[in-house]
Symmetry: C2
Subunit: 173 residues, 2 copies
């Protein structure tokens, strides 16, 4: 290896933000029910596969978010994948809370609000909440899934903007 | 809301795999040092921002992976963002372990192996390891970053293949 100092100019929060501006992430919608049984949900860029045996998903969330109190261990959730055809839905679920549900969503398993226009929908429940500082990693146990259609182009978040996907470079290796 | 049964045909691991085939994720390279001080590293699709104050990143990893034993609390790591110009590097760090390092990488902070051809590089350390079943969520504290260049197109993993990014649909909202 070559030994030289490099140029690590950014520190702390500035370092995180600058680097993650260069990192793409997928987008999904999480829905659940609040303690009164009303639908809650949000568009998330932190939905990540965690393990397959048993099947687990992780979602990073702020403990200060209005949804966090409703996502206790055992809470049922629906995760919806998104694509360019569901871009307006993705925007709506990232917008003002009172505009996110309009009675057009379906009542699915466990009474969960379901957006059937999404390419696929996963039903699970909160198995664990790992808390650190003001944040938490929610671990979701996967129960079942509904596959509605082949996605047109998945939504990708990059450089503070939403994109479609581009050229296929290679199959997995 | 409309109440109907839907069509949740897939269960468990099949449900997870089918849904995540429709979900895009960003790609990054993690490097670190093993207990003998030799470079280790891998291409990861689970690198996710966790919080900004203090700045934290999460990475999902199997406890059975050869790297896990070297990523104890306090271990220093370098995270490299990737783009189409560094696609061959991404492939190399996802390939056979004995081919991943070739003495062309630079020795950076804490002796970490650094790939300066990547658009940006973040230096941090393992702060917490949340273990669940055979998996773990590594929480990385962010220390500093080096910004090398504007990425051409970030690498995105989707439907078991690697892609560039496509059209910009909208700025964040």
């Amino acid at each position: 290896m070559n030994n030289s100092a490099g140029n690590f100019e950014l520190q702390g929060e500035d370092a995180l933000k600058a680097v993650f501006r260069n990192h793409a992430s997928g987008i999904a919608i999480l829905t659940a029910l609040d303690s009164a049984g009303a639908p809650i949900g949000f568009t998330a860029s932190s939905v990540t596969s965690l393990g397959s045996n048993p099947p687990l998903v992780s979602i990073n969330i702020s403990q200060g978010s209005s949804s966090y109190q409703h996502l206790q261990i055992g809470a049922k959730v629906a995760l919806h994948t998104l694509d360019s055809e569901t871009f307006e839905l993705a925007k709506r679920l990232a917008g003002p809370r009172e505009m996110r549900f309009n009675d057009n969503e379906r009542v699915g398993p466990h009474g969960l609000p379901i957006f059937d226009e999404c390419p696929s929908i996963l039903i699970g429940e909160v198995r664990q909440r790992f808390e650190i500082e003001a944040n938490a990693v929610l671990v979701i146990s996967v129960n079942q899934a509904q596959m509605n259609r082949i996605p047109s182009s998945p939504l990708v978040y990059f450089q503070r903007a939403w994109h479609t996907i581009g050229q296929k470079l290679s199959d997995n290796f």
